[in-house]
């Protein structure tokens, strides 16, 4: 939906014919676009104003580096300033004696309950003994929701129904945590408006009786200009130690995080990246900066690929690739890996410059093609997959019948596969030259494959 900032600036600078030094005029024109991009990303208006001034100061007269176009130069400066503003990733506070209390606060529907379970799971994986506490006594079935989530990740949930005050529940939970040697206590509090005095008093009481090591504000990535006031409102009553931004798996740019960070100085700690309880990532400033500017998220993609691909498979695959032995068996394996990464449309959206393409490609068609391809290869014998040359007309007919497609489809796939094989060989040679490319290398191949499939 949005053109990326770099694309926009590129075309502007081409029109201006700028090169060499960035003139004041160049920068002014560019800043208008930067301002728009940030506002579209829901960065607070005042924060945008200050930010644009800062960037302007740095950009006017800046020498454009040899390797960059003026547009890229501006984006580079903007990006660096954004990363700077977003601050360093901050870990959870683990000083002092356990159990450490983590209190989650925020507006209704921000995603606190889900986040409580996600944090618990993460801490459990890190060797901690977490206890979840259901302190939302207002929203219908909120307690049940936390209990169900707790069960899913096998983490105990302390609850006392809806008839007991939140401060008592949390106090009892803390006592129990001490007795049973839990190391982290995560409090899921009810969603509330920062202007609701009575409800804010409840938070103050909970804070007083539990003395949290961390008070984390949970903010929806879709939040608009108001984010700053919300954060300030909470921060005033219960001093925040961190920020968690949720629903970052959508297409919201998450500018609210920048605004909150800038205005309150509270560090961003985690990002919620999906509906599954494992979908939680530590905050990375460069990535969020790229997202705010609409520049895709290659790092996330690579990380996701790494997560879903075992190292051995990846290494074996790469070896076969570089040796030019890529066969249909490998192809099938890659297809399966790609499918694990998630819906194709999502993936394409993460690649810079391909956000637009992702809109053009009909993911339905592409997913169908992928499925069909898998079916065709699955209908081959192992021998055929290893040496595709075996595939004569009779074998192709059998495969077509077996996978429910026409012989032409099999032929087409084989042609595509040959093309791909050629391409892979070239990539293999290139990869060999530029020392080790790591596991990301296979990823480029997969991306090229998508492009092949999309056609």
């Amino acid at each position: 939906m949005f053109e990326s900032l770099s694309d926009k600036l590129q075309s502007i600078f081409e029109r201006l014919g700028s090169k060499g030094k960035l003139t004041e005029n160049d920068v002014n024109v560019a800043m208008r676009e930067v301002r728009m991009a940030l506002l579209e990303a829901d960065v607070n208006f005042k924060v945008v104003k200050d930010f644009v001034e800062r960037v302007k100061l740095r950009a006017v007269g800046a020498e454009v580096m040899d390797s960059l176009t003026p547009a890229q130069m501006v984006v580079k400066i903007v990006n660096e300033e954004l990363v700077e503003l977003l601050g360093k990733p901050a870990p959870l506070n683990t000083s002092g004696q356990p159990p450490h209390v983590i209190m989650l606060v925020g507006l209704q529907g921000a995603g606190k309950t889900t986040m409580a379970a996600k944090l618990a799971l993460r801490l459990k994986k890190a060797g901690q003994r977490p206890l979840l506490v259901a302190a939302d006594i207002y929203r219908p079935a909120a307690i049940k929701q936390l209990e169900l989530l707790g069960k899913q990740v096998d983490i105990p949930v302390h609850s006392e129904g809806t008839g007991v005050a939140a401060s008592s529940i949390t106090k009892n939970a803390l006592r129990m945590a001490r007795e049973k040697a839990y190391t982290v206590v995560i409090l899921d509090t009810a969603g509330r408006l920062q202007i609701d005095d009575v409800m804010m008093q409840e938070l103050e009481q909970v804070r007083m009786v539990t003395r949290p090591a961390d008070i984390l504000l949970v903010v929806d990535a879709m939040t608009g200009q108001e984010a700053v006031n919300v954060a300030e409102g909470f921060n005033k009553r219960v001093p925040l130690t961190g920020l968690i931004m949720t629903k970052i798996d959508g297409d919201a740019r998450g500018g609210a995080a920048l605004s909150i960070r800038q205005v309150t100085g509270v560090p961003i700690k985690f990002l919620g990246t999906g509906e599954k309880l494992a979908d939680l990532e530590p905050f990375a400033p460069d990535r969020l900066a790229g997202r705010i500017l609409g520049m895709g998220d290659v790092l996330s993609l690579i990380e996701r690929a790494q997560e879903h691909m075992s190292e051995d498979t990846a290494l074996a695959m790469e070896k076969r690739l570089t040796e030019g032995q890529f066969d249909l068996e490998d192809f099938l394996e890659q297809l399966k890996q790609v499918k694990k990464l998630g819906p194709l449309g999502d993936l394409l959206g993460m690649i810079p410059g391909m956000g637009k393409m992702a809109k053009d490609i009909d993911p339905r068609e592409t997913e169908k093609t992928l499925k069909q391809t898998e079916a065709i290869i699955s209908s081959m014998t192992i021998a055929e997959r290893r040496s595709p040359d075996l595939l004569n007309a009779s074998r192709r007919r059998r495969i077509a019948a077996g996978s429910g497609v026409e012989v032409q489809d099999v032929n087409q796939l084989m042609k595509q596969f040959r093309d791909m094989q050629k391409m892979m060989k070239q990539m293999g040679i290139m990869g060999g030259k530029s020392k080790k490319k790591g596991r990301g290398g296979g990823l480029g191949g997969m991306m090229d494959m998508f492009r092949g499939m999309g056609n």
Binding site: M1, G109, E226
Partner: protein, 318 residues
Amino acid sequence: MFRKLFGKSEEKTQDEVRLEESLQKTRNTFFGRVSTIFQANEITEELWDELEEALVMADVGMGASEELVTATRTRVRDDGIKATRDAYTILKQEMVRLLRSEEPLHIDEPRLLTVVLLVGVNGSGKTTSIGKMAYWYKQRGRRVLLGAADTFRAAAIDQLKVWGERAGVEVIAHEPGADPGAVIFDAIRASQESRKSDLLLVDTAGRLQTKFNLMRELEKVKRVAGKQVHRAPHEVLLVLDASTGQNAIAQAKAFQESAGVTGIVLTKLDGTSKGGAVLNIKKELGVPVRFVGTGEKIGDFAIFDPVSFVEGILGNGQ
């Protein structure tokens, strides 16, 4: 026969009161700034700049903000208006014009069974809205039934059941993890066969509009409804959190494409955000706001009225 509700009846005044009360807090916030701007003595270039800024800060978005300012400015110039007070009135008129919808709400048309689907992203307030909406229509003599088609989120069905109890309406539900299409199928059958209800409100799971498969699921739910009841669903309401920023337009667009959204339920209006994004949505996609949620209690729900909404967010002027 339910037309009455839209006439100048008592209910409407109550709605107006509720809406205005919930909007009052805004006067100190972003929209509130607008009325301050018009306290200036003269209409200057600066005033228009400040106005645009204030609108952007109220999440109205660049596009709709510019359009509002231009439309107001043009009329002020053409009519030779000098007083800021009059210019302010024109701005309000332009906002009302932008928000007003010619299309009637299809829930109140006489029909054996009306099916309404509530859709939206996670945490926007679907389940709460559906509970309040059930109560609202029940108060007005409708026989309401709820369908729990959010079979995904933990405890969503329980949450809806609590609302069903509070509103005094029955909930048709399956087990967690069941096929939402099957839930709506059963809910429609229950409504029809035992003639239990003439209004079926269906809760769906929250989904981010970028999740392709989940959006496809909505299409299916819609299809199932359409096969059983002529022209169903008769309304598909997007539940939108008033604090949503520019992503609101992407949401509305995606849900319009896959679920055929016909209107918006604007929730959490009791907060300090006032859902300025709906102006942009109406401008870009023509989708009107139909209902507003104004608090956590079951009665905190009202029909959307552009005039009281605009008066509410801007205040009555000087």
